[in-house]
């Protein structure tokens, strides 16, 4: 067991999905809610395991807090109600910290902050990402997200269409129903680098609007659980300081996803 404990703690950064037994009999038990359809942050592997940046960060935070964590996957639309219903204790699913969400849940400090971007088909004649450049275009985004809200608020001369998950807008831009898609730059890059993304190219990043996009992605917890929030914040600070964050970051990105 000692060996196992040692192994787990040192390998925390590389720990894969599923439950992480940190071998802490006296430690707290946490259920983490995530979506499982948002690569490279959280997605299912072909054999049904969770993986991604969010999952690795969650495992690292749990190891840091000496907590025993299990993951629960939940559709995005119901991810906050299920937290409130007590199906899990925290959401680690690239959820942007926004004022509207703050009315319903509490957030920890951000654990990453990457800008939104626009991708278009390779033969697209679009040249810019401003609302004027995309006037008249059909823009796809995942519904109920900050990206969809931003597109609807700013790109009023375009047709904004909301999809259940990122998978569907990818299908629709590949088939030519959409002229452009908007999402987090890292999500788009991951997709464009894959075989499915062969249809398209990155047009450029968009300057985020803090009022809509928030200050970055945080961990959502039920209102009033300040003790848990404090523990998460301390753990985020710790993994930033001890290099665990960097080793996870470098596994996925060529830049520091934590942002400025």
């Amino acid at each position: 067991m000692r060996f196992l404990k040692h192994l787990t703690l040192t390998a925390a950064a590389l720990a894969t999905a599923a439950s992480l037994s940190s071998a802490q009999a006296d430690g707290m038990k946490l259920k983490i809610g995530t979506e499982g359809a948002y690569p490279p942050f959280n997605n299912m592997t072909a054999d049904g395991k969770l993986e991604g940046f969010d999952i690795d960060i969650a495992n690292a935070l749990c190891a840091e807090m000496k907590a025993e964590c299990t993951f629960v996957t939940q559709d995005w639309d119901g991810i906050i109600p299920a937290l409130q219903a007590g199906k899990y204790d925290a959401i680690i699913a690239s959820m942007s910290i926004t004022d509207e969400r703050k009315k319903k849940v509490d957030f920890t400090n951000k654990y990453y902050n990457t800008p939104p971007a626009v991708a278009v088909p390779k033969d697209s004649r679009l040249t810019g990402v401003s609302p004027a450049d995309l006037a008249g275009a059909a823009i796809g985004a995942q519904g109920s997200t900050t990206h969809a809200n931003f597109a609807e608020a700013r790109y009023t001369d375009s047709t904004v269409r909301g999809y259940p998950t990122a998978d569907e807008y990818k299908l629709d831009i590949a088939s030519g129903r959409l002229d452009a898609v908007m999402d987090d730059v890292t999500v788009l890059q991951e997709w464009l680098a894959s075989e499915d993304g062969a249809c398209c190219k990155l047009l450029g990043t968009v300057i985020p609007d803090p009022a809509i996009h928030g200050e970055g992605a945080g961990i959502a917890i039920r209102k009033g659980e300040t003790e848990l929030a404090a523990k998460f914040n301390a753990a985020i600070k710790a993994i930033r300081a001890n290099g665990v964050y960097k080793s996870i970051n470098d596994k996925y990105f060529t830049f520091d996803a934590y942002g400025g």
Binding site: D77, R101, G143, G162, P164, L171, A174, S175, G176, R177
Partner: protein, 283 residues
């Protein structure tokens, strides 16, 4: 047998009183029934109270117009699908009744497929499936149709409801007594005349209720259409919820769906009364 023909009955038979009403016993089932009824009324009252107490004019003025747009999409979608489905269901029902086994099997296969798989899967397959076959569809000039999500929704819904409506129609036609066909033939009517003037009117009376149910099911089933980006009433509701995180957005949607179903139910009640007026015993 041996009553003499001269026998006369002199006494009037006294009308008998109906047997006295026996008080129904208070059984366990009745208790459970009343408790369930009370629980449901309580829930309904609680939800109504919630809607009244959480009355939020800002929310309603902000999302009300969106709901109205969504409602129009829902009604248009369902009405179009039902009409196209009805048009398609007649030949399918005929094929189901056909003595030709190949034709019958084909129609059965179609009905089996569309009744045996979820509407959600059908809509998803039509929309995203069509996207996968864009070059082929373009070469036959159909991409223009399948590019639009609304068209794809109507296409899938109409195919789905046609399968159900064909079965309703088939059952209703078969429920008309064989003697009606024979009587029509005896009168020298052709089969088409017999079908149009004698069989179908009687079959439609039988089919009326199931048709009403099918429209109601379609109306509620259409709520899945947001997965292909058509923002119907349910889609607008989800969007409103994702903005406001206010639970009452869903309650309002439920109330609107309930009103629509209740309207259809009332129209159907009247239709049935009108069509079956020759069967009424009073008046």
């Amino acid at each position: 047998m041996s009553t003499s023909p001269t026998a006369v009955v002199n006494e009037r038979i006294q009308p008998a009183l109906p047997p006295p009403l026996v008080a129904r016993r208070w059984s366990g089932t009745r208790t459970v029934g009343w408790i369930a009824l009370a629980a449901m009324l309580g829930l309904l009252g609680g939800l109504s109270l919630y809607l009244i107490l959480s009355w939020d004019l800002e929310l309603i003025t902000k999302y009300g117009p969106k709901y109205w747009q969504g409602l129009q999409i829902t009604l248009g979608l369902v009405a179009t699908s039902i009409v196209f489905g009805a048009a398609m269901s007649l030949p399918v029902a005929m094929a189901r009744l056909s003595p030709n086994r190949a034709v019958g099997a084909l129609a059965y296969g179609y009905v089996y497929l569309f009744r045996g798989t979820p509407l959600l899967a059908q809509v998803f397959l039509v929309y995203y499936g069509a996207g996968e076959f864009r070059p082929e569809l373009q070469s036959v000039g159909l991409w223009g149709f399948f590019r639009d999500p609304w068209n794809c929704a109507v296409f899938a819904f109409a195919l789905n409801t046609a399968a159900y409506q064909a079965e309703i129609l088939r059952g209703a036609i078969q429920s008309v007594a064989k003697g009606q066909w024979e009587a029509a033939e005896a009168l020298g009517l052709t089969r088409l005349q017999a079908f149009r003037k004698i069989i179908l009117p009687q079959a439609l009376i039988v089919a009326l209720r199931p048709y009403g149910n099918e429209i109601i099911l379609m109306l509620k089933g259409s709520a899945i259409v947001a997965i292909i980006t058509v923002l119907d009433l349910m889609g607008e509701t989800r969007r409103a919820y994702s903005r406001s995180f206010d639970f009452q957005t869903y309650l309002w949607a439920a109330v609107i769906y309930l009103l629509m179903v209740e309207t259809i139910r009332n129209i159907w009640e009247r239709l049935e009364k009108h069509l079956t007026r020759h069967l009424r015993r009073d008046g």
